[in-house]
């Protein structure tokens, strides 16, 4: 089983172009809820609590308006990237002090090894690192356009 190299589909139901949340914890909750509704996870309460604990261990903000909260759990059915976007920005404890406008939530099943899990996070980070990609993701007019940008950026 080549878990580490499994392709990550960009499921449109896992893209939230306009997060309603105004804070970090509510943004995590909104994104976990979307993943649950899309059938990507079970037991959303457990996953949310894990993400909250992870944030307390250290901020997952990378700077430049990007955060990559992540969780590896048996409650995750298959590897997923959930993308949340917010124009107003959310305080995420970034080292550069910038509020976060792009949130890539990386979710992996519990049986995944750490290397594979970090590979998933690295893919999101690679997309987010380029200013051109961030700009395209922030200005994409629809979830379809966001998915297209992600596909193109990670090809």
């Amino acid at each position: 089983m080549t878990l580490g190299t499994a392709p990550i589909g960009y499921d449109l139901s896992l893209c939230i172009p306009n997060l309603k949340a105004k804070g970090k914890e509510s943004a995590l909750a909104e994104m976990v809820s979307a993943a649950h509704l899309a059938g990507a996870i079970r037991e959303p309460d457990l996953l949310l609590e894990l993400l909250r604990v992870r944030e307390r261990v250290g901020s997952t903000a990378l700077g430049k308006g990007v955060a990559i909260p992540s969780a590896r759990s048996v409650t995750v059915l298959a590897p997923r990237l959930v993308l949340g976007r917010t124009a107003r920005g959310i305080e995420w404890g970034a080292a550069d002090g910038h509020p976060v406008t792009l949130i890539f939530m990386a979710l992996a099943p519990g049986e995944w090894r750490e290397e594979a899990f970090h590979g998933l996070i690295a893919r999101a980070a690679a997309v987010a690192r380029l200013q051109r990609n961030r700009h395209r993701l922030l200005s994409a007019p629809s979830p379809e356009a966001v998915a297209e940008v992600l596909r193109g950026a990670s090809a």
């Binding site: 457990l46 894990l50 261990v57 990559i68 519990g110 970090h118």
Partner: protein, 132 residues
């Protein structure tokens, strides 16, 4: 024994775990153990740092883990720790009746009734089963 330092303030209050089933508590403990390994193993930590992700406050994680272990209760904690010592991860997901820990097909009778708060283990490897 010192009182756990987690949570540190009301806005950090954890989800209400009182209503969680015994299995949910075990799964949460397993999640925290996976996170502990991820944030303490030197190779893993080096990768996280390279990615620009911080993991400096592991004391909070230890406190959360202690609290989660306490909520599991002595009976299941023994089975949990035994499986964790042996395999690294004590809980295995089940997909299509297959234990993803040892890949043995489980008998149809192994699945707990819907809504039952029963905790089941794999007859083959002894891991605690999470039926997904």
């Amino acid at each position: 024994m010192g009182h756990p330092t987690y949570p540190r303030s009301a806005d950090e209050a954890p989800a209400s775990t009182e209503r969680w089933t015994p299995l949910s508590r075990i799964v949460h403990l397993n999640d925290l153990d996976l996170l502990t390994r991820e944030t303490t193993d030197p190779a893993s930590l080096a990768r996280l740092k390279k990615l620009g992700l911080a993991a400096e406050d592991t004391e909070r994680l230890k406190a959360a883990r202690a609290q989660a272990a306490q909520s599991v209760g002595a009976r299941w904690l023994v089975a949990y720790e035994r499986a964790r010592q042996r395999y690294g991860s004590a809980v295995a997901a089940v997909r299509d009746r297959v234990c993803l820990g040892c890949f043995v097909t489980l008998p149809t009778t192994a699945r707990p009734r819907s809504g039952a708060e029963t905790v089941t283990t794999c007859e083959s490897c002894g891991r605690i089963l999470f039926w997904g």
